[in-house]
């Protein structure tokens, strides 16, 4: 009972405003730390991993070897090779290091599971910014975005994106067959965003299920090969199984839980982006911590600041760009966008935050602090949320997991990732072993 109270009070304490000091600090002192090297994966998709380009590794992967069996302790070397553009990276980011070291701690009590990660960032400030749109010559264009955005690359827009800590979790029954051995690579395919053979926006929109008559997607994100009738060198993004087959798979738990602590789009509202990878990288059901603030049809923002709550201003000024003290647009300080009220040079966030999350999208809490060049981000969630789009955890069990970090204004595959890892709760069989909080 006392533990429950502690957990509840902790949740209340941390679900406060953005970047508050982590109240869980005291608890973490007794929790063992594991250092994991995350490395830059480039375009090493699942299709690459099982192809002749992976040489003898392909035979190993196809015969059920775990990546760790060949590559344990090689993470830094692999990252260095790929990030340089020597292989698997057609668009290298100049000066980007090939790997980072993340310190991970995990714990649980009667009701909750806690996961904390900290890492020294390459960016010498908290990466708590994201996409911004700016009004230039009467037209809303990209003002700030990630390093690989075309406008940023061309110099038309500035660099601005959020840092992230990501956690992928499979169940302990091997429902996603290859996740334990192949890690996050089971979700990463040719034909996805920023990978070889990426389909065009028109091609995706024309797809009967994924496109504008169905899920309304315009690009391809993570998916499981289990959800396709066929995957090949091209990827197989469009070869979706039919609905009843997909429903059966989902009911059997053939999906991966994906938690993303987003420094701009979720941490300020005390949440992580709770998603799952299945036939697409889907958001959990319910109201999630953020939504797009871009009206694609009108080519203008959907919301602007309520001047009554933003010192009379409806937008941010250029001086407020990448200012950590600048307000973030959310449901409490916004009004519908009015083109008559903005002027050239105004900036508006590309996303709007939701302080009132609900449903399954509400059950994953997160906090983060950046100090002295180090991010520390924490997730906590009920061991079993009871939701169909979450993987339940139980004490005494072990689970396949993967970790990733988006560092220094990058998105999509320009992250650092772990080899396949194992998380245990209350036993010592994992790479990361969660201990009971006493």
């Amino acid at each position: 009972m006392q533990k429950k109270i502690i957990a509840a009070s902790l949740a209340v304490a941390i679900a406060g405003p953005a970047l508050a000091a982590d109240p869980a600090t005291l608890k973490w002192v007794s929790v063992p730390r594991t250092q994991i090297t995350l490395f830059y994966p480039g375009q090493s998709t699942q299709e690459w991993m099982t192809s002749a380009a992976h040489r003898a590794g392909a035979t190993g992967v196809n015969e059920g070897k775990n990546c760790q069996e060949c590559h344990a302790d090689e993470e830094a070397d692999i990252g260095k090779t790929i990030v340089s553009g020597e292989k698997l990276e057609p668009t290298p980011i100049p000066g980007k290091p090939g790997s980072i070291k993340v310190t991970v701690q995990a714990a649980y009590d009667e009701e909750y599971f806690y996961l904390r990660a900290s890492w020294p960032t390459n960016l010498k400030e908290a990466g708590v910014f994201h996409d911004y749109k700016g009004l230039k010559d009467g037209k809303w264009t990209t003002y700030g975005s990630n390093r690989t955005n075309k406008d940023v690359k061309s110099g038309a827009a500035k660099v601005s994106y959020e840092d992230r800590f990501n956690f992928m979790l499979g169940d302990n029954k091997g429902s996603v067959a290859n996740f334990a051995n192949q890690g996050c690579w089971v979700t990463c395919h040719n034909s996805m965003r920023d990978t070889p053979n990426e389909p065009t926006k028109d091609q995706v929109q024309a797809h009967p299920v994924l496109g504008k008559d169905g899920m309304k997607k315009s690009d391809i994100r993570k998916y499981l090969a289990e959800t396709r009738t066929e995957t090949n060198d091209v990827g197989g993004w469009d070869k979706l199984k039919d609905k009843s087959a997909l429903d059966d798979l989902m009911a059997k738990g053939t999906f991966l839980d994906l938690w993303q602590a987003r420094a701009y789009r979720s941490l300020p509202v005390g949440k992580a982006d709770d998603s799952y990878v299945f036939q697409y990288r889907n958001f959990d059901s319910g109201k999630k911590p953020f939504d797009s603030n871009w009206d694609g049809e009108k080519k203008q923002p959907k919301f602007m600041f309520d001047p009554a709550k933003n010192k009379g201003a409806v937008a941010l000024t250029q001086a407020q760009f990448r200012d950590p003290m600048a307000p973030k647009l959310d449901n409490t300080n916004s009004v519908p966008f009015d083109p008559a009220k903005v002027k050239d040079g105004d900036i508006l966030p590309g996303f709007i935050l939701n302080t009132k999350t609900d449903g399954s999208a509400d059950d994953l809490n997160a906090s983060g602090t950046w100090a002295n060049g180090v991010w520390t981000m924490t997730f906590w969630r009920k061991l079993n949320t009871g939701q169909k789009d979450d993987v339940a955890l139980a004490v005494g069990q072990a689970y396949p997991i993967g970790l990733a970090v988006h560092d220094d204004n990058v998105t999509t595959r320009f992250h650092y990732v772990s080899l396949p890892l194992k998380l245990s709760l209350g036993t010592k069989e994992g790479h990361i072993n969660a201990v009971e909080l006493k």
Binding site: S51, A56, T59, G60, E63
Partner: protein
């Protein structure tokens, strides 16, 4: 009868030849000379055949065909088997032709098929080569696999290999432990341009990944 007389003529000729040989070998010196002559002729034939083997193994010989010089040779030049710290550089045949005499003769006879292929297609078009690359790679890989990669091991001694990377150290330690030392089963994309794994070759190397 004319047939009878022709038959008789043949018998008479044979008898004359036999008599001549008989007379010739009456002298032991002549016998020794004949034996010596036979040895010399056979010896020279072997030397000539071996010389043909050696010439046929040479890179210079192989690249006298367009299909070899324009594609696989250019790829070879980019590889570590062409330029490396030790300066060791094999000739084409040192990898692709058996080491021992008769197997080498056999390989060269079979190799005449390449000559037919050389004149069967327009190799000036890279797409023609690429269309056949997978099948050609499969053939070369299977040949090496079926010969237990013995040409590789003429130079590379398994126990003397010291891989620089951890993955190599682990793989070689495991290979020695399990006795699975058929080089090509793992190193199938080594010298020439990457070619995909075919079903047949994948089946052949089954078990090498575990």
């Amino acid at each position: 009868m004319p047939s009878n007389s022709s038959e008789e003529l043949k018998v008479a000729r044979a008898r004359r030849l036999w008599d001549a040989l008989h007379d010739f070998f009456k002298s032991p010196l002549n016998g020794v000379l004949a034996l010596f002559g036979t040895v010399v002729v056979l010896g020279l034939s072997f030397v000539a055949a071996e010389e043909l083997n050696i010439r046929g193994n040479s890179t210079a010989f192989c690249i006298s065909c367009h299909s070899m010089s324009a594609y696989v040779y250019e790829e070879f030049k980019q590889s570590k088997h062409y330029t490396n710290a030790s300066g060791a550089r094999p000739e084409c045949g040192q990898c692709h032709v058996a080491k021992r005499f008769w197997p080498a003769v056999y390989d060269h006879i079979m190799g005449t098929h390449d000559l037919i292929e050389e004149y069967s297609y327009d190799w000036s078009k890279p797409e023609n080569f690429e269309a056949k690359r997978s099948a050609m790679a499969e053939k070369a890989r299977l040949k090496m696999y079926n010969e237990d990669s013995h040409t590789c091991r003429e130079c590379h001694k398994m126990e003397a290999i010291a891989p620089a990377r951890k993955r190599g150290q682990r793989a070689h330690e495991d290979a020695i432990k399990k006795g699975r030392t058929n080089c090509i089963a793992c190193h199938y994309n080594l010298v020439h341009k990457e070619a995909p794994l075919t079903e047949k070759f994948s089946q052949a190397i089954k078990g090498f990944g575990g």
